[in-house]
């Protein structure tokens, strides 16, 4: 279904005609083997803890912190868009926030460790408006010694 050619109109045209940011640099950071890396999830699903504030369009209101010990029932979604499926998330949070799977990959030795904190943006925004927050967030990731950020859209 996420094959653009299979999407129904008008969604296909809406997505195909979305204005995209242009980047003229190609950043690249090397690192250790995957089984030595510390991984954090950075979602754009508008996820947050149940007792946290929902996402708004207020300037600067860009991301939420999701502590690594957050329980599945404490994570909810306040993404503004209705044009993506939420029933998968309702049945299993791992479909958008694969924290259980990350821990399993860690236990099996595929990755080194799982970060203490994860993050979510609300992705119905122009990425340029998220730049300042994303750069600050990189500092938080480094403080947590993360050397692999897994970005997950919806």
């Amino acid at each position: 279904m996420a094959r653009l050619e299979k999407m129904p109109e008008p969604q296909r045209s809406h997505i195909a005609n979305t204005r995209l940011p242009a980047f003229d640099t190609y950043p690249w950071v090397d690192g250790p083997a995957l089984n030595m890396r510390r991984i954090a999830i950075v979602s754009t699903a508008g996820l947050h803890r149940r007792d946290d504030r929902p996402f708004t369009f207020e300037p600067g209101d860009n991301y939420r912190i999701i502590p690594g010990d957050t329980a599945a029932n404490d994570l909810i979604m306040s993404h503004v868009s209705t044009n993506f499926d939420r029933s998968g998330f309702q049945q299993d949070w791992n479909i958008v926030f694969p924290l259980d799977r990350l821990h399993e990959l860690c236990d099996e030795g595929h990755i080194g460790s799982v970060a203490r904190f994860h993050y979510s943006f609300m992705g119905a925004m122009d990425p340029k408006d998220l730049e300042q927050s994303a750069r600050k967030l990189a500092g938080l990731l480094k403080d947590d010694t993360v050397d692999g950020a897994l970005l997950v859209p919806v």
Binding site: V42, G88, V96, G139
Partner: protein
């Protein structure tokens, strides 16, 4: 739009010195933005790991994305080779277990619509409770409103503009989140049928938008939003309440 967002975020985070990898749901967006590393997957929007409750499949997707961190150079986009599995034979059509009372509703009678809406919500309650028990969780709760408040608040939009039940966000966002909770209630209830098969996103959407009183109420609310001058209300009416795929239902 989220694939666009993760593409941009990856540029900024990687520029600050943290290696990134990502899942892409819209390949042309990723091709244009060129983040350092991306795994394109052929799954529904909203299902980046493919399918719920299939740890083995999810781990294959996850590991494929993470292994891109070991690529020697980039930008690199690779394709996940498999479609998301379905949990039953393709020719077996999912049927909602909830037998909603069928009665023709007079769409011009706001009170009759509200009464039918409330009755339907009550009928679903036992299935929703079963779903919560089975899943040990619910995704309802974004609006901060109780179920009865959600019914009254959304129902009031059929023929009026109610007061905002929250002080910290706009009326439009309160409505948006109340509708999110309403849909979570219906979808979680409908997916609670006994057995192993889980309905696809398309099946649940077709049921909700095609068969429920709630959908009829939301179409009426959409019309109310479109009559408002408020920019966010207009946006709600145009694209945020009804999915584009069902906007002509």
């Amino acid at each position: 739009m989220c694939t666009r967002a993760v593409g941009g975020l990856a540029h900024y985070i990687e520029e600050e010195g943290v290696a990134t990898t990502q899942i892409s749901l819209i390949r042309p967006h990723t091709e244009a933005i060129k983040p350092p590393r991306a795994l394109w997957v052929p799954f529904d929007l909203g299902r980046p790991l493919g399918v719920p409750n299939d740890a083995g499949f999810q781990k294959r997707v996850l590991l494929s994305a993470l292994k891109l961190l070991e690529e020697p150079s980039g930008p690199v986009i690779t394709d996940f080779p498999d479609d998301a599995p379905v949990s039953r034979q393709a020719d077996v059509v999912w049927a909602c277990p909830v037998n909603l009372a069928r009665k023709k509703i007079d769409l011009s009678d706001a009170d009759a619509m509200r009464a039918a809406f409330k009755k339907e919500m009550v009928e679903l309650r036992t299935w929703y409770d079963l779903a919560v028990k089975k899943q040990q969780r619910t995704t309802m709760g974004v609006s901060g409103l109780e179920l009865a408040q959600i019914i009254d608040f959304i129902g009031a939009f059929i023929d009026s503009i109610p007061a905002n039940p929250r002080e910290d966000i706009s009326l439009a966002l309160s409505l948006n989140f109340a509708v999110d909770d309403l849909k979570a209630y219906y979808y979680e209830a409908a997916a609670a049928q006994p057995g192993s098969s889980s309905p696809t996103a398309e099946e649940l959407d077709d049921w909700f938008w095609g068969e429920t009183v709630a959908a009829k109420v939301l179409f009426a609310v959409k019309d109310r939003c479109l009559k408002r001058d408020d920019k966010m209300m207009q946006l709600l009416g145009k694209i945020l309440l009804i999915p584009m795929s069902h906007s002509d239902a």
